[in-house]
Symmetry: C2
Subunit: 341 residues, 2 copies
């Protein structure tokens, strides 16, 4: 079976200059992949001809789109007026079944709005959430929402918990993934009204709910799914990126200080490279818009070739796993149970 | 001039077993310091006699308190019924002028409620905020609120900006500190209603307002003061701690993998120790409850001896700098200007 993925070739900070070489790399890595690069044909083809990697033959095609969604454009405006944008056309290709999934590094709000309008949400889901795997001791943790739903209510946080739980079941094969609710303390008195109400709902649910967790527990590897509001999740994600980057810089600075430290650095380099590889945020690029009737991935806007290629491969893997269908089945079972009560 | 600091000796995860040796260390480090350890005399004195550091002579005294605030106690309940708790008595000592400042590692909400009730807020300030210096490229960034105000409104976020700005002026000697508002994107369309309203108010203010910043910019060292809601700030802080800890663990794991990496580790150790010293969260322990008519510091509940001693020294430094008076002067000038308009 060939997996076809539509790419918003104009999205993100770098457009075709990153999407095209990332596509070539992903095609090299995954033999069952075929890509549709959506965007300005002149720009995309120019990037293709500059691409020094072995040409992947007929496995990539260009699909023209005359418009582009800007990074600061209002989602509602993009939805209304950008019907021939690279982002919208890539989503439309999933809708009509030409593509199995789409990936964009563009405007998150617009991607959300368009994907929701075109593909629709699964039964029982108000709005999709953005979920990503983050590195944790001994593996990873799925965290959602990472920025799609600012001011999520208690019911919505529970929907995130269900979706995250199904995702962890599918991706990691865990029978009953543990779910934590991100709060500013482990005590029941902490948090705002949404958090407290969501805590009550989750306690009564049949999920493997582990209660409140604090920010530092995200990376401890004891929780499979971390649930939070989109504002909080996005800030936590980017704060983590910032800390990791500062850590890396300080290590570099200290090893470059004297000739002794430079020598020590030469010895330590292979080890530090392994640490970096394990912590590399590029290896975690590609956040899923979960809750949709289709696979849509959001890449980091500043993603480079390696990071964007990873997002493409993650999309392919979600198609292989049949994530949206499995989430839908789980939700339908839950809804049927509720109706039976 | 001697600076007298009242300590909640029963607070935090470890009570006197951390507060007492931390006190001894702080007294060794700061010659103008005198400490009042408030708590159960039997327990505090037992810890004092176990303390193997050179005894600091008459510079510490025990002040009995018969109660203790629990970590999961409701702030309102603690305020009503814990009038002879170690936390409350320490704050009372600041009120009557026996102590110049107090430090507690106990229940944050209760500390907030008691300090606000006993000491009162400065003119123009609704509620105090928790502010701390966080490590950043080339120095540090003051961030507030870190957990005292969940669901802060637009006006309150502006008050945080004013207080943080005055703090940066006093502590770092910056004439016009830059202030950033934490958001999930740099574009004007991002964020919730409070953030957008606060953005408008800050744009019109006479602060050196730099606009929206994202979580990764906290550590970049380009912004002197980062303003956010208490829920968001607390999650960001703890997420950062979690990432830093995971980073440290992975470095240790990789250096312990083979005999070659262990040898490389022996070379690299002095360098990595310097990195750790620069990033050590213990060197940043001690968050100020700013906006009060007095110096009150909150230590991390899990602080060890080194971390708690740092919080004591930070309190002493704020007394020396006369932070509350300087914030008050600034606020009074601002209020007078507003009335003149």
């Amino acid at each position: 079976m060939t997996i076809t993925i539509a790419l918003d070739a104009m999205g993100g900070d770098f457009g075709p200059s990153v999407v095209v070489p990332a596509s070539a790399a992903a095609l090299e890595q995954e033999r069952d992949l075929s890509l549709i690069l959506v965007g300005d044909p002149a720009l995309v083809e120019a990037a293709m001809s500059e691409c020094r990697l072995p040409r992947p033959g007929g496995r990539w095609v260009v699909r023209p789109a005359s418009q582009q969604v800007e990074m600061d454009e209002l989602p509602s405006a993009a939805l209304r007026s950008k019907k021939d944008s690279s982002m919208r056309v890539a989503i439309d290709l999933v809708k009509v079944g030409t593509a199995d999934a789409c990936v964009s590094a563009g405007n998150t709000g617009a991607l959300m709005a368009m994907a929701r309008f075109v593909l629709k949400t699964l039964p029982g889901i108000d709005r999709p959430a953005i979920v990503s795997a983050l590195p944790a001791s001994g593996g990873h943790t799925h965290m959602l929402d990472l920025g799609a739903n600012v001011g999520a209510g208690a019911e919505q946080l529970c929907q995130f918990a269900v979706m995250g739980s199904v995702l962890a079941q599918c991706v990691d094969g865990i029978a009953s993934p543990s779910v934590g609710l991100l709060n500013i303390g482990a005590e029941e008195i902490k948090g705002n009204e949404q958090i407290k109400a969501s805590h009550r709902l989750l306690t009564e649910s049949d999920l493997n709910y582990a209660g409140f967790i604090e920010g530092d527990a995200i990376f401890r590897g004891q929780i499979d799914v971390v649930v939070c509001d989109g504002f909080v999740g996005n800030v936590a994600l980017k704060t983590g990126e910032g800390i990791a980057k500062m850590f890396g810089e300080r290590i570099r600075e200290e090893f470059e200080r004297t000739s002794f430290t430079r020598l020590a650095g030469a010895f330590a380099m292979p080890v530090l490279r392994r640490v970096r590889a394990r912590m590399d945020p590029r290896a975690y690029n590609g956040a899923t818009l979960i809750g949709l009737r289709g696979v849509v991935l959001k890449s980091h806007g500043g993603a480079d070739r390696v990071a964007f290629a990873h997002a493409i491969r993650r999309a392919a893997s979600e198609v292989r796993e049949g994530i949206p269908d499995r989430v839908r089945e789980h939700l339908e079972t839950k809804l049927a149970e509720q109706e039976a009560v």
